[in-house]
Symmetry: C2
Subunit: 142 residues, 2 copies
DNA sequence: ATGCTATATTTAGCCAGCTAAATATAAGTC
DNA sequence: GACTTATATTTAGCTGGCTAAATATAGCAT
Protein backbone atom coordinates (compact mmCIF):
# COMPACT_ATOMS: atom_id res chain seq x y z
CA UNK A 1 0.00 0.00 0.00
CA UNK A 2 2.67 2.47 1.01
CA UNK A 3 4.71 1.35 -1.97
CA UNK A 4 1.82 2.03 -4.30
CA UNK A 5 1.26 5.52 -2.93
CA UNK A 6 4.95 6.35 -3.07
CA UNK A 7 5.30 5.06 -6.57
CA UNK A 8 2.33 7.13 -7.63
CA UNK A 9 4.09 10.15 -6.22
CA UNK A 10 7.25 9.52 -8.20
CA UNK A 11 5.28 9.01 -11.39
CA UNK A 12 3.05 11.93 -10.60
CA UNK A 13 6.00 14.29 -10.26
CA UNK A 14 7.27 12.89 -13.53
CA UNK A 15 4.00 13.51 -15.34
CA UNK A 16 3.63 16.99 -13.90
CA UNK A 17 7.11 18.04 -14.89
CA UNK A 18 6.84 16.77 -18.42
CA UNK A 19 3.41 18.28 -18.93
CA UNK A 20 4.60 21.54 -17.38
CA UNK A 21 7.61 21.56 -19.68
CA UNK A 22 5.45 20.96 -22.74
CA UNK A 23 3.01 23.68 -21.76
CA UNK A 24 5.65 26.11 -20.77
CA UNK A 25 7.70 25.47 -23.88
CA UNK A 26 4.76 26.43 -26.04
CA UNK A 27 4.18 29.55 -23.98
CA UNK A 28 7.83 30.65 -24.19
CA UNK A 29 7.87 30.34 -27.97
CA UNK A 30 5.83 33.54 -28.02
CA UNK A 31 8.92 35.27 -26.63
CA UNK A 32 11.22 33.48 -29.07
CA UNK A 33 12.74 31.48 -26.20
CA UNK A 34 13.19 27.77 -25.57
CA UNK A 35 12.62 26.02 -22.23
CA UNK A 36 15.66 26.44 -20.01
CA UNK A 37 16.82 29.62 -21.67
CA UNK A 38 14.60 31.57 -19.28
CA UNK A 39 16.55 30.16 -16.34
CA UNK A 40 19.84 31.18 -17.89
CA UNK A 41 18.56 34.69 -18.58
CA UNK A 42 17.11 34.83 -15.08
CA UNK A 43 20.56 34.37 -13.63
CA UNK A 44 21.89 37.14 -15.88
CA UNK A 45 19.12 39.53 -14.80
CA UNK A 46 20.51 39.17 -11.30
CA UNK A 47 23.85 40.36 -12.66
CA UNK A 48 25.56 39.60 -15.96
CA UNK A 49 29.19 39.36 -16.99
CA UNK A 50 29.63 35.96 -15.35
CA UNK A 51 31.48 33.07 -16.96
CA UNK A 52 30.02 29.95 -18.53
CA UNK A 53 31.41 27.86 -15.68
CA UNK A 54 29.52 30.03 -13.20
CA UNK A 55 26.37 29.50 -15.24
CA UNK A 56 27.00 25.75 -15.05
CA UNK A 57 26.99 26.01 -11.28
CA UNK A 58 23.80 28.04 -11.12
CA UNK A 59 21.85 26.02 -13.68
CA UNK A 60 23.28 22.73 -12.46
CA UNK A 61 24.18 21.46 -15.86
CA UNK A 62 27.33 20.47 -17.73
CA UNK A 63 29.61 22.78 -19.74
CA UNK A 64 28.57 21.52 -23.20
CA UNK A 65 24.94 22.29 -22.36
CA UNK A 66 25.91 25.89 -21.59
CA UNK A 67 27.94 26.13 -24.80
CA UNK A 68 24.87 25.21 -26.83
CA UNK A 69 22.38 27.35 -24.92
CA UNK A 70 24.68 30.34 -25.06
CA UNK A 71 25.24 29.87 -28.78
CA UNK A 72 21.51 29.81 -29.43
CA UNK A 73 20.84 32.82 -27.20
CA UNK A 74 23.64 34.74 -28.88
CA UNK A 75 22.34 33.94 -32.36
CA UNK A 76 18.93 35.19 -31.32
CA UNK A 77 20.45 38.43 -30.04
CA UNK A 78 19.67 38.11 -26.33
CA UNK A 79 23.26 37.91 -25.06
CA UNK A 80 26.83 38.66 -26.13
CA UNK A 81 30.05 36.87 -25.22
CA UNK A 82 33.37 38.51 -24.39
CA UNK A 83 36.62 36.84 -23.59
CA UNK A 84 37.82 37.57 -20.05
CA UNK A 85 40.62 40.15 -20.06
CA UNK A 86 42.70 38.39 -17.45
CA UNK A 87 41.96 34.76 -18.32
CA UNK A 88 41.83 33.98 -22.01
CA UNK A 89 40.17 30.64 -21.31
CA UNK A 90 36.98 32.08 -19.90
CA UNK A 91 34.06 33.70 -21.73
CA UNK A 92 31.96 36.29 -19.92
CA UNK A 93 28.28 36.52 -20.81
CA UNK A 94 26.44 39.83 -21.08
CA UNK A 95 22.81 40.70 -21.72
CA UNK A 96 21.86 42.75 -24.76
CA UNK A 97 19.00 45.24 -24.56
CA UNK A 98 16.77 42.60 -26.13
CA UNK A 99 17.82 40.20 -23.37
CA UNK A 100 17.01 42.72 -20.67
CA UNK A 101 13.63 43.46 -22.18
CA UNK A 102 12.58 39.86 -21.68
CA UNK A 103 12.68 40.06 -17.88
CA UNK A 104 9.15 41.34 -17.33
CA UNK A 105 7.48 39.19 -20.01
CA UNK A 106 9.18 36.05 -18.68
CA UNK A 107 8.14 36.84 -15.12
CA UNK A 108 4.60 37.16 -16.38
CA UNK A 109 4.84 33.73 -17.98
CA UNK A 110 6.12 32.35 -14.67
CA UNK A 111 3.14 33.79 -12.83
CA UNK A 112 0.73 32.42 -15.40
CA UNK A 113 2.35 29.01 -15.21
CA UNK A 114 2.32 28.98 -11.42
CA UNK A 115 -1.31 30.08 -11.32
CA UNK A 116 -2.30 27.31 -13.67
CA UNK A 117 -0.33 24.76 -11.66
CA UNK A 118 -1.70 25.77 -8.27
CA UNK A 119 -5.27 26.58 -9.23
CA UNK A 120 -7.77 25.60 -6.51
CA UNK A 121 -4.98 24.63 -4.11
CA UNK A 122 -5.46 26.49 -0.82
CA UNK A 123 -2.84 28.80 0.71
CA UNK A 124 -2.32 26.47 3.71
CA UNK A 125 -1.81 23.58 1.32
CA UNK A 126 0.63 25.64 -0.72
CA UNK A 127 2.72 26.33 2.35
CA UNK A 128 2.82 22.68 3.32
CA UNK A 129 3.52 21.69 -0.28
CA UNK A 130 6.38 24.14 -0.41
CA UNK A 131 7.89 22.65 2.73
CA UNK A 132 7.60 19.10 1.42
CA UNK A 133 9.11 20.05 -1.94
CA UNK A 134 12.07 21.65 -0.18
CA UNK A 135 12.53 18.41 1.72
CA UNK A 136 12.42 16.45 -1.53
CA UNK A 137 15.02 18.76 -3.05
CA UNK A 138 17.38 18.18 -0.18
CA UNK A 139 16.72 14.45 -0.31
CA UNK A 140 17.88 14.40 -3.91
CA UNK A 141 20.96 16.52 -3.50
CA UNK A 142 22.11 14.76 -0.34
CA UNK B 1 4.30 37.14 -0.62
CA UNK B 2 1.91 34.65 -2.12
CA UNK B 3 3.53 35.23 -5.47
CA UNK B 4 6.92 34.46 -4.04
CA UNK B 5 5.74 31.24 -2.46
CA UNK B 6 3.97 30.13 -5.61
CA UNK B 7 6.93 30.95 -7.76
CA UNK B 8 9.14 28.96 -5.44
CA UNK B 9 6.83 26.02 -5.94
CA UNK B 10 7.05 26.19 -9.71
CA UNK B 11 10.82 26.42 -9.59
CA UNK B 12 11.02 23.78 -6.93
CA UNK B 13 9.09 21.29 -9.03
CA UNK B 14 11.40 22.20 -11.89
CA UNK B 15 14.55 21.58 -9.86
CA UNK B 16 13.21 18.35 -8.41
CA UNK B 17 12.27 16.94 -11.78
CA UNK B 18 15.57 17.79 -13.42
CA UNK B 19 17.60 16.47 -10.50
CA UNK B 20 15.43 13.35 -10.40
CA UNK B 21 15.93 12.86 -14.11
CA UNK B 22 19.70 13.22 -13.79
CA UNK B 23 19.88 10.83 -10.86
CA UNK B 24 17.53 8.35 -12.38
CA UNK B 25 19.25 8.49 -15.74
CA UNK B 26 22.53 7.50 -14.13
CA UNK B 27 20.84 4.68 -12.24
CA UNK B 28 19.14 3.32 -15.36
CA UNK B 29 22.41 3.18 -17.28
CA UNK B 30 23.28 0.16 -15.16
CA UNK B 31 20.43 -1.62 -16.93
CA UNK B 32 21.55 -0.28 -20.32
CA UNK B 33 18.42 1.90 -20.49
CA UNK B 34 17.87 5.62 -21.02
CA UNK B 35 15.37 7.77 -19.11
CA UNK B 36 11.91 7.40 -20.60
CA UNK B 37 12.57 3.96 -22.04
CA UNK B 38 11.48 2.46 -18.72
CA UNK B 39 8.05 4.06 -19.16
CA UNK B 40 7.71 2.62 -22.62
CA UNK B 41 8.72 -0.83 -21.42
CA UNK B 42 6.40 -0.47 -18.44
CA UNK B 43 3.45 -0.11 -20.78
CA UNK B 44 4.58 -3.20 -22.68
CA UNK B 45 4.88 -5.24 -19.48
CA UNK B 46 1.17 -4.60 -19.01
CA UNK B 47 0.62 -6.18 -22.42
CA UNK B 48 2.67 -5.96 -25.59
CA UNK B 49 1.77 -6.09 -29.27
CA UNK B 50 0.33 -2.58 -29.25
CA UNK B 51 0.99 -0.03 -31.99
CA UNK B 52 3.26 2.98 -31.88
CA UNK B 53 0.24 5.28 -31.94
CA UNK B 54 -1.09 3.55 -28.84
CA UNK B 55 2.27 4.09 -27.18
CA UNK B 56 2.03 7.77 -28.08
CA UNK B 57 -1.24 7.96 -26.22
CA UNK B 58 0.09 6.20 -23.13
CA UNK B 59 3.39 8.07 -22.94
CA UNK B 60 1.83 11.37 -23.99
CA UNK B 61 4.42 12.16 -26.59
CA UNK B 62 4.53 12.67 -30.33
CA UNK B 63 4.98 9.98 -33.01
CA UNK B 64 8.57 10.91 -33.95
CA UNK B 65 9.59 10.51 -30.31
CA UNK B 66 8.22 6.98 -30.33
CA UNK B 67 9.97 6.22 -33.61
CA UNK B 68 13.32 7.15 -32.05
CA UNK B 69 12.76 5.42 -28.71
CA UNK B 70 11.55 2.27 -30.40
CA UNK B 71 14.53 2.28 -32.75
CA UNK B 72 16.94 2.55 -29.85
CA UNK B 73 15.17 -0.14 -27.81
CA UNK B 74 15.11 -2.44 -30.83
CA UNK B 75 18.82 -1.94 -31.50
CA UNK B 76 19.53 -2.81 -27.89
CA UNK B 77 17.49 -5.99 -28.17
CA UNK B 78 14.66 -5.19 -25.75
CA UNK B 79 11.81 -5.12 -28.25
CA UNK B 80 10.91 -6.25 -31.78
CA UNK B 81 8.62 -4.62 -34.33
CA UNK B 82 6.15 -6.42 -36.59
CA UNK B 83 3.94 -4.90 -39.21
CA UNK B 84 0.24 -5.32 -38.43
CA UNK B 85 -1.29 -8.10 -40.54
CA UNK B 86 -4.48 -6.22 -41.28
CA UNK B 87 -3.16 -2.67 -41.50
CA UNK B 88 0.15 -2.29 -43.28
CA UNK B 89 0.58 1.24 -41.91
CA UNK B 90 0.87 0.19 -38.29
CA UNK B 91 3.80 -1.39 -36.47
CA UNK B 92 3.13 -3.59 -33.46
CA UNK B 93 5.71 -3.65 -30.68
CA UNK B 94 6.66 -6.81 -28.81
CA UNK B 95 8.97 -7.47 -25.88
CA UNK B 96 11.95 -9.76 -26.29
CA UNK B 97 13.06 -12.00 -23.44
CA UNK B 98 15.67 -9.39 -22.57
CA UNK B 99 12.92 -6.78 -22.44
CA UNK B 100 10.83 -8.93 -20.12
CA UNK B 101 13.76 -9.56 -17.84
CA UNK B 102 14.06 -5.85 -17.12
CA UNK B 103 10.71 -5.63 -15.34
CA UNK B 104 11.90 -6.58 -11.86
CA UNK B 105 15.16 -4.61 -11.97
CA UNK B 106 13.37 -1.49 -13.19
CA UNK B 107 10.73 -1.80 -10.45
CA UNK B 108 13.57 -1.99 -7.95
CA UNK B 109 15.04 1.21 -9.37
CA UNK B 110 11.62 2.86 -9.04
CA UNK B 111 11.42 1.86 -5.40
CA UNK B 112 14.92 3.13 -4.71
CA UNK B 113 14.16 6.40 -6.43
CA UNK B 114 10.88 6.89 -4.58
CA UNK B 115 12.52 6.06 -1.26
CA UNK B 116 15.24 8.61 -1.89
CA UNK B 117 12.68 11.23 -2.93
CA UNK B 118 10.34 10.71 0.02
CA UNK B 119 12.88 10.05 2.74
CA UNK B 120 11.80 11.53 6.09
CA UNK B 121 8.42 12.60 4.71
CA UNK B 122 5.69 11.20 6.94
CA UNK B 123 2.90 8.89 5.71
CA UNK B 124 0.21 11.51 6.42
CA UNK B 125 2.21 14.06 4.47
CA UNK B 126 2.65 11.62 1.61
CA UNK B 127 -1.09 11.13 1.39
CA UNK B 128 -1.72 14.86 1.30
CA UNK B 129 1.10 15.36 -1.16
CA UNK B 130 -0.36 12.73 -3.41
CA UNK B 131 -3.72 14.47 -3.38
CA UNK B 132 -2.19 17.86 -4.19
CA UNK B 133 -0.08 16.40 -7.01
CA UNK B 134 -3.19 14.82 -8.53
CA UNK B 135 -4.82 18.22 -8.40
CA UNK B 136 -1.81 19.78 -10.12
CA UNK B 137 -1.93 17.13 -12.82
CA UNK B 138 -5.55 17.88 -13.54
CA UNK B 139 -4.83 21.61 -13.51
CA UNK B 140 -2.28 21.13 -16.24
CA UNK B 141 -4.31 18.87 -18.46
CA UNK B 142 -7.48 20.92 -18.16
C1' DA C 1 -12.12 2.49 -60.67
C1' DT C 2 -10.87 7.07 -59.37
C1' DG C 3 -10.03 10.39 -56.16
C1' DC C 4 -10.08 12.57 -51.72
C1' DT C 5 -9.35 12.31 -46.91
C1' DA C 6 -7.75 10.18 -42.68
C1' DT C 7 -4.33 7.54 -40.21
C1' DA C 8 0.51 5.52 -39.03
C1' DT C 9 5.06 6.06 -39.43
C1' DT C 10 9.38 8.13 -40.89
C1' DT C 11 12.70 11.82 -42.03
C1' DA C 12 14.98 16.15 -41.31
C1' DG C 13 16.16 19.54 -38.31
C1' DC C 14 15.84 21.99 -34.13
C1' DC C 15 16.64 22.40 -28.60
C1' DA C 16 17.93 20.53 -23.68
C1' DG C 17 20.75 17.39 -21.57
C1' DC C 18 24.50 14.06 -21.18
C1' DT C 19 29.59 11.82 -21.70
C1' DA C 20 34.14 11.44 -23.71
C1' DA C 21 37.64 13.53 -25.91
C1' DA C 22 39.99 17.59 -27.99
C1' DT C 23 41.77 22.41 -27.49
C1' DA C 24 43.58 26.33 -25.32
C1' DT C 25 45.21 28.77 -21.61
C1' DA C 26 46.75 29.20 -16.66
C1' DA C 27 49.42 28.10 -12.99
C1' DG C 28 52.40 25.42 -10.28
C1' DT C 29 56.84 22.59 -10.10
C1' DC C 30 61.32 21.08 -11.06
C1' DG D 1 62.78 27.91 -19.12
C1' DA D 2 60.42 23.35 -19.61
C1' DC D 3 57.17 20.00 -17.83
C1' DT D 4 53.02 18.85 -15.68
C1' DT D 5 48.63 19.55 -13.89
C1' DA D 6 44.36 22.14 -13.52
C1' DT D 7 40.70 24.88 -15.55
C1' DA D 8 37.41 26.74 -19.37
C1' DT D 9 35.39 25.86 -23.42
C1' DT D 10 34.34 23.35 -27.62
C1' DT D 11 33.38 19.36 -30.63
C1' DA D 12 31.31 14.97 -31.73
C1' DG D 13 27.88 11.94 -30.90
C1' DC D 14 24.26 9.99 -28.25
C1' DT D 15 19.09 10.30 -25.92
C1' DG D 16 14.40 12.53 -25.09
C1' DG D 17 11.38 15.81 -26.87
C1' DC D 18 9.35 18.80 -30.35
C1' DT D 19 7.39 20.58 -35.26
C1' DA D 20 6.85 20.38 -40.22
C1' DA D 21 6.86 17.80 -44.06
C1' DA D 22 7.19 13.38 -46.63
C1' DT D 23 5.54 8.34 -47.29
C1' DA D 24 2.57 4.79 -47.33
C1' DT D 25 -1.62 2.64 -46.60
C1' DA D 26 -6.69 2.58 -45.46
C1' DG D 27 -11.18 3.79 -46.28
C1' DC D 28 -14.87 6.33 -47.95
C1' DA D 29 -17.48 8.61 -51.73
C1' DT D 30 -18.56 9.44 -56.19
Amino acid sequence: MTDTVDCDIRQSVDRISSQMRRDYSESLRELNLYVGQDNLLSRLWQGDGITQMQLCGHLKCEPPTITNMVKSLEQNGFITRKRDEHDARAMRIFLTDEGRELEKPVELKWKQQQEKLLHSILPEERLLLRRILKQMESNLSG
